[in-house]
């Protein structure tokens, strides 16, 4: 028999991980369904989450009318479905239905509500027979699917338990999971979620969360535990996804400090449910079954009302206290009449000779298939369009470039890359923003690590940023800013001072308020002067020796012990005494000095000076820097991955990217997805430092890549909001080199300007370059940039084949040369394992946020409030909002993002791609068609598409 944890684990993947908003990770909200074919996964997800999984057919009709969906493609896909499903109807008939009747399907129902028409009796009887209304028990079960007992009680007896239960849960978990947003922290969080909850609610329970859950389920008389767990997880699936994420990431700092598990969250939910049930008529499911058996029709009617599934007339009848049996019967008749009228109307439009009952079945099946038919037709039309454009180009030698620029494969690099290429003899490359070098980065003046790698990769190398020059001014400004913030915060949070504070210094905030609103550019300039200017820095790229590690750990511990002793006692402890204390805490040596147990305990618990922490610190410090072989390996992998193995210009720039905006909790969603939602500058700087190192160049030459001594790797940062490019570490250049590089910088600046002009055309209310600049500093701006909206494809291949195309920032572009790859397609496998997965997550996050923003998106930014510094919710409490805000994918009520699966063009022979798919961890979602692979095989002169489990030729070259 499976344990309670096993039962929870069997359903927990239904809800996706939710990463904290500070490092926003785009993800597929249906990740747990990737084991199924895309189409089947969507059907299953819809049955669980509800909502839509495809756009409405009227949306696709618009695209068809604009010529984006090709008629021939649509017909071909429709024909395939008719054959596969065995629908014995002419193509024209099906096409007419999908194009002329189906887009009006819902509005027809509205029309028939007020129009009386005769109903075909045979059709009515047929629909009645096929409907669920005949089997009231099954109907009831369908209605209560994924409902908790308190929701059922609310529906049947008009209570408001759901509101209070969810509110209580949110109040507790948002305070428990808080990451320093509040000034009044919840106590006892280090005990773990369930233990802290017991103290929070002041209830006595000796056993653990697992036992509590088991006992609660017994009290509620739950028969299907897994299903009930799922019902509970779905109530607040954003919060559940976050708890799931942190509980599965042992390195997540807050999780280590305040542990939480999904079973504990479940225990808390069930606790509140039991509390609510105490005063309810139906306090367990046996009582509900008994009640439902005795009041079946009444229960159905009330559940229909609760779920907003009744017509207005029916609601009026309920208000008028008419008999339940009459109301329900009228409701069923109404529903069936409307169904019948829809079919009768379709018959009139389609001029069909089929019996209406047969037509009903065909139309039902066609409607089930239409979303996928339209989606695939849109994708196929794009595939045909782009294949024609890509295969037209033949590879040719180009003039030698002065500089190369590697950008992140992010869609937003397309326009800037094209602009740079048009500005002079420059060549550009695309790679995953983390450049294949996953690092845990500790920024200068910060204490925590940032994982700069795709969310699925755990960095094994830590890099510290250290100042390279004197930084007194920086430190003093930072110190001053911190003190000011602290004073203001204290004044704000003290019960007495806010009154005086508002009177005395409230006007100061007015400068910010009015400045940012009316003069954003000037205010930004003024405020930036107050910000501390970071000194020049270097990175710790070399490994520490064992002695150095020991030294640093000891130094850290000594400093902490010294500080705790200074705060706790008046006695001045010597260095030797501190060593004795440390050795006692870590190596369990005898404590030969007189010190209180309380201080020892404090050092152990509050400051983690323990044997475990000692080992942990040593392990972390051993991760600092890279061994020479690692450096060479990372550089080699990077160069071979983008195919830059023999063409090295004088300046090889590697340009990371980030976004700048104001008052935007989703800012990190606009940063580099391949760097875990962070700015990718540290990766580019680290790789450039590695590539410029002499010992690395010697070693890499042994592997066949000769980088000329004259080639300098220069890191840069592309701000995607403004398209500005800034270069770093240029002090490695000689004066002569610098003169040449200034010309490169100048050309790149021109390219930035061109890119801004082009991008301004697609941004709303943006006409000039100045408008674009203001967007990055306007605190009321809901779209500082379009981000990754409208992404539709990936191109992995040499740049030459796409250089001539205006791709409008819609393609992830990864440079790849299969001729450099080995027989096992290792390079392509790496591209599939990292960038492709990130691309798929980004693509599907946009897809689902667009098709149903209420279910899979974050809703409107207007209602958002940041909660616990981990995400946003609506108003003052709600579920943690997953996905993207509606403003990121919609414009003026219409979808701006075109939801399609990621069309993945790969320039390589089919065998190479086959091997990469086989070896990649992305294999399940590739084979299940959560992306659309298209292989351009110039060797075989064929283009393949992957469909229904096989690669099929879609074009001969």
């Amino acid at each position: 028999m499976s344990s309670i944890i096993d039962k929870l684990n069997s359903v927990k993947d239904t809800v996706p991980h939710y990463w904290p908003i500070g490092s926003f990770i785009h993800h597929n909200p249906l990740k747990g369904f990737e084991g199924l074919h895309f189409k089947d996964g969507l059907i299953k997800a819809q049955s669980i989450f509800g909502g839509k999984v495809y756009m409405d057919s009227s949306y696709y009709m618009d695209l068809y009318e604009q010529g984006k969906i090709h008629d021939s493609v649509f017909e071909s896909n429709l024909k395939k479905v008719l054959v596969e499903k065995g629908f014995d109807i002419p193509l024209e008939f099906a096409k007419k239905f999908l194009m002329e009747v189906s887009p009006k399907w819902s509005s027809l129902r509205i029309k028939f509500l007020s129009e009386k028409e005769n109903i075909d009796h045979q059709l009515y009887l047929y629909l009645e027979e096929k409907s669920i209304y005949n089997n009231e028990k099954a109907w009831l079960n369908k209605l209560i699917k994924h409902m908790t007992l308190y929701e059922i009680n609310d529906a049947l007896f008009g209570g408001d338990d759901k509101e209070s239960v969810e509110k209580n849960i949110i109040e507790f978990i948002s305070r428990f999971l808080d990451e320093d947003q509040t000034t009044m922290r919840m106590p006892n969080r280090e005990l773990g979620m369930f233990e802290a909850f017991k103290l929070f609610e002041n209830f006595t329970y000796d056993k653990n969360a697992e036992s509590f859950v088991e006992e609660s389920l017994k009290k509620l008389h739950i028969k299907d535990t897994e299903s009930y767990f799922l019902s509970h997880l779905l109530k607040l699936h954003g919060w559940a996804g976050f708890i799931k994420y942190r509980s599965e990431d042992p390195d997540y700092i807050s999780q280590r400090q305040h542990p939480s598990r999904l079973i504990e969250y479940m225990a808390i939910r069930l606790y509140y449910e039991l509390q609510a049930m105490k005063n309810n008529k139906l306090s367990n499911f046996d009582l509900f079954d008994e009640y439902a058996n005795n009041n079946l029709q009444d229960s159905i009617l009330k559940l229909l009302k609760h779920k907003n599934m009744l017509f207005g007339q029916t609601l009026d009848s309920i208000e008028a206290n008419e008999k339940t049996i009459k109301i329900l019967s009228e409701h069923v008749t109404n529903e069936l009449n409307l169904d019948a009228l829809q079919i009768q109307h379709s018959n009139q439009v389609l001029q069909s000779n089929l019996p209406l009952t047969q037509l009903a079945t065909i139309l039902k099946n066609l409607r089930e298939e239409e979303g996928y038919i339209w989606l695939k037709s849109l994708e196929d039309s794009y595939i045909h369009t782009y294949v024609d454009k890509i295969i037209k180009v033949q590879a040719k030698e180009e003039e030698k470039a002065i500089a190369s620029a590697t950008f992140c494969l992010d869609v937003r690099s397309e326009v800037i890359r094209r602009s740079i290429e048009n500005s002079g003899p420059y060549e550009t490359y695309g790679a995953g923003g983390f450049l294949g070098i996953p690092i845990a980065f500790v920024e200068f003046d910060k204490a925590h690590e940032l994982f700069l790698s795709p969310a699925i990769v755990k960095p094994q190398n830590v890099i510290f940023e250290l100042p390279n020059e004197s930084h007194e001014e920086y430190s003093s400004k930072i110190g001053m800013n911190k003190t000011t913030k602290k004073v203001l915060s204290d004044l704000k949070n003290n019960p007495y001072t806010p009154y005086i504070m508002v009177e005395a210094i409230g006007w100061i905030f007015g400068i910010n308020l009015f400045g940012k609103t009316f003069l954003p550019q000037k205010t930004n300039k003024l405020l930036s002067k107050l910000k501390a200017k970071k000194p020049k820095t270097r990175y710790t790229l070399d490994k520490l020796s064992v002695e150095e590690i020991e030294f640093y750990v000891k130094k850290l511990h000594t400093k902490i012990i010294h500080s705790v002793l200074a705060d706790s006692t008046s006695h001045d402890y010597t260095k030797d005494e501190i060593d004795i204390i440390r050795n006692h805490l870590i190596f369990n040596d005898d404590l030969k000095i007189d010190i209180s147990d309380e201080i020892i305990e404090k050092l152990k618990t509050a400051h983690q000076i323990t044997a475990e922490d000692y080992e942990y610190q040593k392990k972390k410090l051993a991760m600092v820097g890279f061994r020479l072989e690692e450096k060479v390996s990372y550089l080699y992998k990077y160069l071979t991955m983008i195919g830059q193995v023999n063409k090295f210009p004088e300046f090889a720039t590697i340009i990371g990217h980030g976004s700048v905006s104001d008052n935007n909790p989703f800012e990190s969603a606009l940063d580099c997805g391949a760097c875990g939602g962070n700015i990718s500058l540290p990766n580019t700087r680290a790789l450039c430092m590695i590539a410029n190192a002499k010992d690395v160049r010697i070693k890499i030459a042994e592997k066949g890549i000769n980088i000329p001594e004259s080639t300098k790797f220069i890191p840069g940062l592309h701000i995607t909001t403004t398209d500005e490019i800034t270069f770093y570490d240029t002090d490695i250049l000689t004066d002569e080199e610098m003169q040449k590089f200034l010309k490169v910088k100048d050309d790149f600046n021109k390219a930035s300007k061109l890119s801004r002009v082009e991008r301004s055309e697609s941004l709303p209310y943006t006409h000039t370059e100045k408008d674009m600049m203001i967007k990055s500093m306007d605190w009321s701006e809901i779209r500082p940039e379009w981000g990754l909206a409208r992404n539709m494809g990936v191109f992995a291949g040499p740049r030459i084949y796409t250089k001539h195309l205006k791709l409008d920032n819609r393609f992830f572009m990864h440079s790849y040369d299969w001729k450099i790859d080995n027989d096992d397609a290792e390079i392509l496998t790496r591209i599939f394992d990292g960038p492709l997965i990130v691309g798929e997550w980004i693509n599907l996050e946009h897809y689902f946020s667009t098709v149903d923003n209420h279910v899979y998106g974050a809703g409107s930014k207007v209602y958002h409030n940041v909660v616990s510094k981990i995400g946003v919710f609506n108003g003052n409490y709600s579920d943690l909002k997953i996905g993207l805000p509606i403003q990121s994918v919609y414009l003026d009520g219409k979808a701006y993002h075109e939801p399609v699966r990621l069309i993945s063009f790969v320039e390589a022979p089919l065998e190479i791609v086959g091997k990469a798919v086989e070896n990649s961890i992305a294999k399940p979602f590739i084979l299940n068609e959560w992306i659309r692979p298209v292989i351009v095989d110039r060797e075989a002169k064929k283009v393949y598409s992957y469909e229904n489990g096989e690669f099929i030729v879609i074009k001969e070259m």
Binding site: I110, L113, N308, G312
Partner: protein, 243 residues
């Protein structure tokens, strides 16, 4: 005395509940229209009669109004809500005496907007019942905006005329205990009834089982006209307060 009783019949709710609601032939829409018409008659009648009303009439109408508030909380039909709101406000009309005329006109103008919204619902969703038509603001923003204006006006929020005439009465009268009770009860009654509708139909998640319909240009123009009327009344109201 006779005119008082006539006023009570015209502006109080009880007779309607006992006579009209029991009549199955009369729809709530017809009752709404009849009530509005009779309130208008009461306004005209009150112009030709002395303005002093006995306390007993005010007490009876207050009790009738409280009963109307209760009835209004039990309905999710705009027509019913419309005529309940007339009866909820009847004591104001009696209490405000000659200053109650403009208040009644403002009320009728706001309710005419609500009536048109009800008609829109009836035409497009089969009934003026709003219980299942949720999240209007998100899916039909124009409709949501107009409905918000009417409800805010009915909730006695400034600067809508209803609230201004109401304030004018408070500023310029010598209230006694009964006035306090009437004003407080009915102010909160109006407020909570309007907010209840807002919560149920304007906000929340749109109902996936409904095909939402947007307003036609003709509808928008008509509603704009009503808003302009409210604006003109607001100017009058503001003048009355300031002068």
């Amino acid at each position: 005395m006779i005119t008082d009783i006539a006023l009570l019949i015209l502006a109080g709710g009880l007779p309607y509940y006992t006579l009209l609601e029991k009549n199955t032939r009369l729809s709530s829409k017809n009752i709404f229209l009849l009530s509005a018409f009779l309130l208008l008659c009461a306004v005209v009648l009150s112009l030709s009669i002395p303005n002093e009303h006995p306390v007993s009439l005010i007490v009876v109408s207050l009790l009738s109004a409280i009963f109307s508030i209760y009835k209004a909380t039990k309905t999710t039909n705009f027509y019913k809500l419309g005529y309940y709101l007339i009866f909820v406000n009847a004591p104001f009309f009696i209490l405000f005496e000659d200053r109650g005329i403009l208040y009644s006109v403002s009320l009728l103008v706001s309710l005419s907007g609500l009536y048109l919204i009800a008609k829109f619902y009836e035409k497009n969703y089969g009934s003026a019942n709003y219980s299942n038509i949720t999240g209007i603001t998100l899916v039909a923003p124009h409709l949501g905006t107009y409905l918000s204006f009417y409800l805010i006006a009915l909730a006695l929020y400034p600067p809508f005329p209803n609230s201004l005439f109401f304030l004018n009465y408070i500023f310029k009268s010598d209230p006694d205990l009964l006035s306090y009770i009437v004003v407080t009860t009915l102010f909160f009654g109006n407020f909570f009834l309007a907010m209840r509708v807002m919560r149920k139909t304007l906000f929340g998640r749109p109902n996936p089982n409904i095909h939402y319909v947007r307003m036609s240009l003709k509808d928008k123009v008509i509603h704009l006209f009503i808003l302009i009327l409210l604006l003109i009344l607001s100017i009058f109201g503001l003048k009355e307060i300031l002068l």
